[in-house]
């Protein structure tokens, strides 16, 4: 009961989601500092006071919006890859899903950048805790991949970090060059290079 009711007053969680969505969209479009909380309120169709009723501060709202995106990202990647058993296939599927997510939610990229720019200090950053949160999951995958000795690298941490950083750069520069197509379009090429490098294998 509740969410389908005819009541004008939406349930708190619906309100919250709407504000969150508005915030993500505004922050992505204008940057953290460039956004007046009023704009978020207008976009969400609520009063400014209401925004502050649901979120302590502009900063808290930003973090919540980012967290929301990160959760969606995780869900998306997990939903696509968790059921894939074969490790390399799982890696491939997860990577592809990762890229596809940002094609579908480009605002997430902007939130990444904004967080990096505005809250660079470890203290306030959400990115690091987030990475930590899922580290074990992906390290397990890397250990599996290393299991049969096919990797050139034997340190799961290092492999994970290296690939993460490469992907991160790939994501962030998505809009860098106008002619660049969707991220997923670049996937095969990227994945091929990540697996085999730029040199021919027989070298």
């Amino acid at each position: 009961m509740g969410s389908e009711g005819k009541r004008v007053h939406k349930s708190a969680s619906v309100r919250e989601s709407e504000i969150l969505a508005a915030a993500a969209s505004c922050f992505a479009a204008h940057g953290y500092r460039g956004v007046d909380v009023q704009l978020i309120a207008d976009t969400a169709g609520v009063g400014k006071g209401t925004v502050y009723r649901y979120f302590t501060s502009k900063e808290a709202l930003f973090h919540a919006a980012l967290r929301h995106c990160l959760d969606q990202l995780r869900d998306h990647v997990r939903a696509a890859s968790d059921y894939v058993v074969e490790p390399m296939q799982r890696f491939r599927t997860a990577t592809r899903a990762y890229l596809a997510f940002f094609d579908a939610h480009p605002e997430t990229i902007e939130l990444f950048i904004q967080e990096r720019a505005e809250f660079r200090d470890q203290e306030t950053s959400l990115y690091f805790p987030y990475v930590d949160e899922h580290r074990e999951h992906w390290l397990a995958l890397w250990r599996q991949l290393m299991g049969d000795g096919r990797l050139r690298i034997n340190d799961a941490e290092a492999a994970n970090r290296l690939v993460s950083r490469m992907l991160y750069g790939f994501i962030l520069t998505r809009t860098a060059e106008p002619q660049t197509g969707s991220l997923e379009d670049g996937f095969e090429e990227l994945f091929e290079i990540m697996l085999h490098g730029i040199l021919r294998g027989d070298t």
Copy 2:
């Protein structure tokens, strides 16, 4: 103003450099929006008015500071690699110099991020013109590398873009994980992977 004597006259170029250096340092430390021009003035040891004597606006100052860093970066990489004749060696040297530069001037990374975050849309962005400016130089290198058919990729543009984006991600995440050492320390590992991929060659 600092603790020095009242008013100091210096040559315009010296003053400009000092202000530029102060600006780069402040912007890197606190972010574009987080910096009060007064702080830059104090850091440079000049009055606030003096800052505006040399730069039209805070924004202009930021762009000038970034441009300064980009010029240094280019000079550094060129100085290290231009004289290297053998293409692969030149690629290697340039890449290493590129990473080393950011170890020596980590504030440059922050300025990159800040520009991306604050001036994402605008024509004012310096990064893309900068990249364009040097595109030909590096494309030539890629064509040389492709000359003997040792590359898995035959499109100089694509190779250049791919590697640039990977490196960009590598740079940006430098401070991502506390335990990470200098960028140059990670060079061998990164370069190895870029050349040969994460899979063993015999796969």
Copy 3:
């Protein structure tokens, strides 16, 4: 803010009037440039932000204040003279009311001067549109006065302009000489001269 309680909510129109009144008073007392918007806010008993909530800019506020005075002036003169039927009596009554208004609202004079001094060139000037707005009304009066051929002048435009300019000078110099009394006190003398000139009629 003043000594009153923390935050007071008033109807928008009341607040606007209060700010307008404070602005007129401040601008008159210190001149457009000599006024810090903070002073207006303090005088109105509101925060500075509130001033900007009601008026886009200092300039807009000034123009609004002037417009307000002009409206009052028009209402005052019209209220006094519109019901007077006999043309010459109407002219007399209107002129007297005009002078009396400035005795009652001397700040209006200052706003006139300030506008002339600060916004001389611009389209933003309110004075000329204002004059135009009422031109027809007064031209009609002049035509009536000319109807019986008692005027030395036969051009309603010219007569209107000439008298306006004389009155304007009379108003503006009100405070010119300390010993000068109220404008209305000088009315009879002025009006007599305007009607009959400084020379005796038999000359």
Copy 4:
């Protein structure tokens, strides 16, 4: 000797005049507050420091410029009218010369307005002392005019004041209406009305 010499360094009095002229022109064009002292220096072709070498402050410079204009005005009117013996002719000639002066030096009008707007307090105003300075001269004329009993008014002070104020209004509104021609063009009409009033003499 001196002023015709080939020395690059102009004599102090020449410098001063140039600065004064530049100041008058700038103040008239942009208003007292709208002028950066730098602009005056540039216009005069000297360094900013030099301006301050000749004049204590911006305010002092403005007053000096105004004083200069007032002196010229006085000289002009006196030169034209002092030799005229017949009182009414002298009044007529002086008035006409007064108007003609402002046609030739319209910037004087602006300086009048600026002073009125910025330095309205008796203390700093130049206008009142100036008027006082010449009061006696003109009062004498008025007494002469009254000598033969042809004036409707018998108070020289009052007559002087009244006419001054009318003329002042006439001057100040010169640019008020675009279609208005030169002040001197309006002279006959104005003078006729001042002498005989707007009503026909036989009324």
